[in-house]
């Protein structure tokens, strides 16, 4: 167990490092250094920046040095809690991001919950009643869910909500709660808005999970031990619930490793479409305005969040299915 834990932890640390390297590379990508851009921004607002001041800024960020030095400076600043300045807002990056990251995490978490809540019963139904009308229906819906990019689904849902129900289904809060401090009322309001984007996000993952679960359960149901159980007179549902389902569920847990990045990815783009106050719209705005510190930090934080989530799910997985530890040795 310990060896497995250490291995997973080590991999998580390396992944975080890789994410930080990629994020920093993205910060560096646009032509020209960011001090030039920053000064341009300041001057556009009427602030005069002297040559000496700009030189000092350059020195501070080590822009005259190599990529490695700049990267080192950037990382050490982060460890001190300084993520740099969001140029457009002229405020520290962390302040701009605020509770948007938390809302992204909440959205991701509820989506994964919905994925399971929807996929498990439907998967069982499709396997037990193979080739029934319901099975064909869910197979069809599943294929459609796989094929429809989730931002298109969001657009269609918004359109239907607007045209047929005359309601704006976007956003995570009602206007009166948007800037209010967190209270019970606000939490309830959040739950009221959260389910729709969560389900939209969950569709693609659900479609995949249904197929996996259905195939696994079908394999298990054909095995002799199920026939034996049935021959001995065990009730229909108990047979399925007691053994085959538990075997078939294992891959479900292990898929979370790729389900999580998938859903986080989707949440970015869905948030833009449905104007949810997560990091998605902020990232897009930052990238379009070439506000690279803000954009890089968001990419870094999203990546780290995903890695932590995957790590936790790895631990859960090892706890549920001890065989996993041996497989990856």
């Amino acid at each position: 167990m310990l060896v497995y834990l250490v291995r997973r932890f080590f991999l998580a640390v390396i992944t975080v490092w890789a994410v930080s390297l990629i994020s920093f590379a993205i910060i560096q990508l646009p032509p020209g250094d960011f001090v030039t851009a920053y000064i341009g921004q300041l001057q556009a607002m009427g602030t005069i920046v002297s040559q000496a001041e700009s030189e000092a800024l350059r020195m501070e960020y080590g822009l005259d040095r190599s990529f490695a030095v700049q990267y080192y400076k950037w990382v050490s600043r982060i460890f001190e809690g300084d993520f740099g300045i969001a140029m457009e807002y002229r405020r520290p990056v962390l302040e701009v991001i605020g509770d948007r990251l938390l809302l992204t995490a909440v959205l991701t978490f509820t989506s994964i919950m919905f994925t399971w809540i929807l996929a498990i019963p439907i998967g069982i139904y499709s396997a037990v009643k193979q080739y029934s009308l319901g099975d064909y229906f869910f197979t069809f819906v599943g294929f459609l869910g796989l094929a429809l990019p989730n931002f298109l689904l969001a657009l269609v849902v918004l359109y239907i909500g607007f045209v047929f129900f005359n309601a704006n289904v976007g956003g995570l809060f009602s206007p009166e709660y948007a800037d209010a401090p967190y209270t019970w009322g606000k939490m309830l309001d959040l739950l009221n808005h959260l389910w729709l984007p969560s389900i939209i996000l969950a569709v693609a993952g659900t479609a995949q999970l249904i197929r996996v679960l259905r195939a696994n359960l079908l394999d298990e149901l054909r095995k002799p031990y199920v026939i034996t159980a049935r021959a001995k007179g065990l009730a229909g549902w108990r047979i399925i619930m007691k053994y085959p389902l538990r075997v078939a569920l294992n891959p479900l847990v292990s898929t979370i490793g790729y389900l999580l990045p998938l859903i986080v990815s989707g949440s970015i783009i869905i948030s833009v479409v449905m104007s949810l106050p997560t990091v998605g719209p902020l990232l897009l705005k930052a990238l379009l305005a070439q506000d690279m510190f803000l954009a890089g930090t968001i990419i870094l934080l999203i990546g780290v969040m995903t890695v932590i989530g995957t790590f936790i799910s790895d631990l859960l997985l090892a706890w549920i299915d001890p065989r996993i530890q041996l497989e990856t040795m």
Partner: protein
Amino acid sequence: MAEETLIHSDIEVFEARGDERIYAASQWQLMWWRLRKHRLAMVSGLVLLLFYATVIGADFMATADPQESNAQLGLMRPQPVRWFDGWTFSPHVYAIEGKRDPRTFKRVYQADPNQKLPVRFFARGFEYKFLGLFPANLHLLGVEGARAEDTLFILGTDLQGRDLWSRLLYGTRISMTIGLVSVALSLFLGLLLGGVSGFYGGWLDTLIQRVIEILRSIPTIPLWMGLAAAVPKDWSVTKMYFAITIIISLIGWTELARVVRGRFLSLREEDFVTAAELSGASRMRIIFRHMVPSFMSHIIAATTLALPAIIIAETSLSFLGLGMRPPAVSWGVLLQAAQQIQAVALTPWLLLPAVPVVVAVLAFNFLGDGLRDAADPYG
């Protein structure tokens, strides 16, 4: 040997017909027979052929220059082609009259059923170069003797008064080929790295596997967005096209590499590889003469299944304004017009570019499934 491992239903079908061709058929022949039985895959293949025909013949099928804008004709409703006039076959559309509403200052359009514009096949229209080589002006559909106000907007127009149908066709050209080029690049990376990983094993395998694992655990959309945002805004369409292609395949190769590695690992243990080794075949000969042909079909299936993800990636990026940018036309660029849902509620035809995205993605999925089932005709 082949007789024993052939799937029984195939044998039975052929024996029932008194057909013994199955015993002599080549691997590819068997795969084709197997694929042919997969109806959905065959239909999907046909649909995809149509899509690629559109890629080649976009100019011919277009009814208007996709870049030609006319503010006087903005946000016009689709003009359905009416094929029959009474009982006689005479395709036509109703002429449309546009004027400004004196109260809302919006342009409103009114179809005039008395004024029928005859639509002709193989009509002369705007100039283009067929296949980029031969100057031509022949189009599949067109309005006879078109005056400026005689319009044929099968799917309506966008805000700038550009013909959506023609733009959709040109968008197909970019969206469908960007997938192909990207997947070719991904395939190259996947074959190279997956092959090295699977064939040599050892620390190189471990390293490549870890890199794949790391890449797969990072959300792709934010990464793509970050990379795509660095593409300079003043680049030409061609440069932009290749930049986006490279960005997408830089992250998209991992799944293909995994498939290739898996195949190499399982084939390495096969008898025929050992036999080739014992007969003194060189390593290169073993790989290219013996191993590659036997997993080629699996690679083709995996490649087909990788395409939808790439098409969705390009569409999403362009939709956000980070992928292809106007003047380039792709499905994602067209969908950008549908970002404001309040506006779309009044002009629902702007959501139409979503249809080819869904159809193409579904078709690639079904065809890929069929190919995967057929890939191992001895299984």
